[in-house]
Amino acid sequence: MSLKKEPDEGITFDTFMEGVWRQNPVFVMVLGMCPTLAVTVSAVNAVSMGVATLFVLVSSCLLVSLIRNLVPKEVRIATYIVIIATFVTLVDYIIQAVSLSLYEALGAFIQLIVVNCIILGRAEAHASKNPPLKAVVNALGMGIGFTIGLLALGATREILGAGKLFGFSLFGEHFQPWVVMVLPPGGFFVLGGWLLLFSFMRSRSEKGAAHE
């Protein structure tokens, strides 16, 4: 596995893992925060949002990569946005058809996937410079990384705030839910907490490396 980034390098394992771990959109880059915090009140919502974003990300990166040599440089951002908006409209209608209760829970945040910085960022930074297959693999990794991040937040907030996970009660009847965690402030606290944990782990491993 080579870690060097060359434009003409083939598809490596790192193309995929970049988004899942090293450049995780939620925990490392802190991008796409609005849906991250708004819909993660329960694990189910978080996963649905993650999968919807994953779909839009992969399909728009594929299309952007296919037409990358046809689009004039000046209008590329506008083109990308229209492509993304098309796929989001698609997802919006699909979710509405599959599960109305989920649609109501996510509300306008499905349509707000359009303005998720991760998608435009990937389209501009990766898909517009790479062949379709590589772009799709990278987008898949990013999308999965985003879903994992959302799941981590959603699960934490659901466990603390409602004493449940995926709707199943965990602690029995006497559990006093920490309600603030499913309210807006909880979103900020939980993400802040996760970031703290990661920076703690990073400083530990750096210290460990310095001792050896």
Binding site: T86, F189, G192, S199, S203
Partner: protein, 194 residues
């Protein structure tokens, strides 16, 4: 749908603040809130874009519903927002180049500010009429500016504080935002909202 205008304004300004209660527009909220001097102009520019976007979205929605083109709504909204951001950018570049440079990349990024698209989408979802839409966008913009200015003031004070290196950066800003959001929950029930 019978909310009065003052109710809508107070709700979007305080109880349902876009940033702190609905999580819209977090990227500029965390990105530009480092200094008070850039936070205020950023808030005003965003408010202006919101107002324009809200007006255009209202007209577009009428037009699209009349022709049964609902599926084009999202695409047309985003194009309108992108154009109005371009307008603000040109005006600002002409009249205040210093500010234009200070805001930097965050100015074109208003296009991908969830709060702006959020205004357009929520007013459509809630069937607001013209005056209500106008109030909603003004309240939303004022709320966004308020949150941004409060956050910038807090962070300016924090620069002098002795914070452990581990906590510095985004984690600190997030916990600060959480505390601010907790404070804003105290406004709940104000204006006879939900």
């Amino acid at each position: 749908m019978n909310e009065s205008l003052s109710q809508i304004f107070i709700a979007t300004l305080l109880t349902n603040n876009f940033v702190l209660a609905m999580f819209l527009g977090l990227c500029p909220f965390l990105g530009v809130s480092g200094r008070l001097g850039t936070a205020l102009p950023m808030g005003i520019a965003t408010t202006f874009v919101m107002l324009v976007a809200s007006l255009c979205a209202y007209g577009l929605n009428l037009l699209l519903s009349a022709f049964h083109l609902d599926f084009l709504r999202l695409i047309s909204y985003i194009v309108v927002i992108a154009s109005s951001v371009q307008l603000v950018e040109m005006v600002m570049k002409k009249y205040s180049p210093a500010l234009f440079r200070a805001l930097g990349i965050y100015l074109p990024l208003i296009t991908t500010n969830c709060a702006v698209l959020g205004v357009a989408l929520f007013q459509t979802a809630r069937d607001y009429d013209f005056a209500q839409s106008l109030t909603f966008s003004l309240g939303g913009g004022a709320g966004f500016t308020l949150a941004l200015v409060l956050m910038a003031s807090l962070r300016e004070r924090l620069q002098l504080a002795n914070v452990p290196t581990l906590v510095q950066g985004t984690a600190l800003s997030l916990i600060l935002a959480g505390l601010l959001s907790l404070t804003f929950m105290g406004f709940a029930g104000l204006g006879g909202g939900e």
